[in-house]
């Protein structure tokens, strides 16, 4: 399984693609969060130091909140993202793709204690590498996933020019490939366009620039532009 997509079928019967995130972006996100937390603590500490002994108590309370509550609150209230996850465009979701709720968020963050064992998230890393959906132990118990936020695909509509019916019948996968060429080729260099079009010379019956244009025409035909 090279593909790290997790497919979840929703109650409406369509598949939801969840691109799960591996250990590296998650570790980076955790590092960013750690830096932010330490920063907040230093700020809070500097302010509360002015308050003397009561400040010391408040400092310990904020230490508690930043240690335990920070990830829980962010994940539930901010669309499954802590600031670090936002920076890495990651998101925590329920196993079924729905936004993460209070209980799963609490579970997965409490169980960090176990994932951190014996040092430096080693248990979590091993679980993450062994699991097909890259879940650490806390994620497994909470039934959650960390997924990449889908990027907008930079495909444009195929340029409208000539329309040309393909010389031979095409299989569905072949049709999809021709349409994909029509939509993505404008983003490529002319040399690369020609190189790709030359591969299907038997279909277009010409090479170079005219092959590219003919392929565009076929894409248009397949898209239904008459």
């Amino acid at each position: 399984m090279l593909d790290t997509y997790r497919e979840v079928v929703t109650p409406e019967g369509v598949a939801l693609h969840l691109p799960v995130a591996g250990p590296v972006p998650r570790a980076v996100a955790w590092g960013i969060d750690l830096a932010i937390r330490l920063g907040i603590l230093m700020l809070v500490g500097a302010v509360l130091a002015l308050l003397g002994a009561a400040g010391e108590g408040l400092y310990l309370i904020s230490l508690f909140l930043i240690f335990w509550a920070y990830p829980i609150l962010f994940e539930v209230l901010w669309d499954g993202q802590t600031p670090g996850k936002k920076a890495m465009s990651l998101r925590v979701v329920n196993g079924d793709g729905a936004p993460v709720g209070w209980l799963p968020a609490i579970t997965r963050n409490l169980l960090r204690t176990v994932d951190m064992l014996p040092f430096g998230y080693a248990a979590g890393l091993i679980a993450c590498l062994a699991d097909p959906h890259a879940r650490r132990l806390g994620d497994m118990v909470a039934g959650t996933l960390v997924v990449h936020n889908e990027r907008e695909r930079d495909a444009a509509a195929a340029p409208v020019n000539a329309v040309l019916a393909p010389s031979a019948g095409l299989q569905p996968a072949e049709q999809a490939a021709v349409v994909a060429f029509g939509e993505r080729a404008p983003l490529l260099t002319p040399a690369r366009q020609e190189e790709l079009a030359n591969i299907v010379e038997p279909l277009t019956g010409s090479r170079g620039q005219s092959g590219v244009l003919r392929l565009y025409g076929m894409a248009n035909w397949l898209l239904g532009r008459r």
């Binding site: 729905a98 118990v141 495909a155």
Partner: protein
């Protein structure tokens, strides 16, 4: 139908849906404003299902990513909105503490009793042993720790605070919150190591507390000690035992999942544990408050302290025993 015709036919619907998501997607905003868009809020589930059907069609017909990715993104946003978790309400929180939490505890009675045994047996054994063999304490605590412990509960001390060397009430409140709640939560979490972590934490805590109490009692510092611990013990000791019980449940679910897949058993144990941890954190918060602002006051006479302790013990046990009995809810259901 060709892709272009498909898009042309449904384009308008998709734009309407997208517009609705953008203007009405935020629940709080949507409450404040009137819906002026083309589709009413009540039409959204139907619209969403229609979109799902169109996405399935588009995929089946092999339309290009321009269409499927767009529909998929729209559908995902709709899905996130329709299946989001409801916002918690205050009334629900009170209900949880008063009724659901005790019910949850009782539903895991076996684990709770086991945790109690794992904690109380070493505690009592240690305490009794130290009355007869006082020298045993040197095997458990270093001379420095011992000296500090004895200073904290020295009956001859003229400090007006019990059970601490320095620090104001507020500083100690923060300290207790950070320390005790973290210990409680870790007691639960380490149950994932097949229960071994929880068992170790319970036994070590039992031995540690038993040793400290036994030693202080034996050297004659019993009076300040009991006056100090009486107030917060009902909440703190109970919470540690409950956290241990939740951890044991999680561990058992890993070892013996029963007729479920192991992962399903773990998820069930984890969710239950998370709920229990909410209640446990609350109990430890109360304990920290009592410990910081009540337990340490030197001026309150012992009789009042022990009376209050008795009342609190009764309340805590009654709460756990009777709480939520008369309601028809089911702690296992959710």
């Amino acid at each position: 139908m060709r892709q272009e015709q498909f898009v042309a036919r449904h384009q308008h619907e998709w734009q309407q849906f997208e517009h609705w998501l953008e203007t009405r997607g935020n629940a709080r905003q949507a409450l404040a404003e009137r819906n002026t868009g083309e589709i009413g809020d009540e039409d959204i589930p139907a619209r969403y299902r229609r979109l799902c059907q169109q996405l399935a069609l588009a995929r089946k017909r092999g339309y290009s990513p321009v269409v499927t990715a767009r529909l998929q993104a729209l559908m995902q946003r709709g899905h996130n909105l329709l299946y989001r978790t409801p916002t918690p309400r205050w009334q629900r929180a009170v209900e949880f503490l008063l009724a659901d939490f005790p019910r949850l505890v009782r539903s895991e009675a076996g684990c709770m009793w086991a945790a109690l045994a794992l904690f109380a047996v070493p505690l009592v054994t240690m305490f009794v042993l130290l009355q007869f063999y006082p020298e045993l304490i040197h095997g458990l605590m270093s001379p420095q720790e011992l000296a500090q412990l004895e200073r904290m509960y020295d009956p001859a001390s003229d400090s007006n605070k019990l059970g601490r060397e320095s620090g104001t009430d507020w500083a100690m409140f923060g300290h207790y919150i950070m320390n005790n709640i973290s210990i409680g939560l870790r007691t639960f979490a380490s149950g994932l190591l097949a229960g071994v972590g929880t068992i170790l934490v319970l036994i070590l805590n039992g031995v540690g507390i038993g040793a400290a109490f036994g030693h202080l009692q034996q050297i004659g510092s019993g009076d300040p000690l009991w006056r100090f611990v009486a107030g917060h013990a009902p909440f703190e000791l109970t919470a540690i035992v409950l956290a241990g019980g939740a951890g044991l449940r999680l561990g058992f679910n890993l070892i013996a999942p029963g007729r479920r897949r192991r992962i399903d058993a773990l998820v069930a144990g984890g969710l239950k544990g998370a709920k229990l941890c909410l209640g446990i954190a609350f109990m430890l918060l109360v304990a920290a408050f009592i410990e910081a602002f009540w337990s340490s006051t030197q001026s309150i006479p012992a009789s009042i302290k022990f009376t209050v302790s008795g009342v609190l013990w009764t309340l805590v046990l009654l709460w756990l025993w009777r709480g939520g009995r008369n309601q028809a809810g089911d702690a296992d259901a959710s």
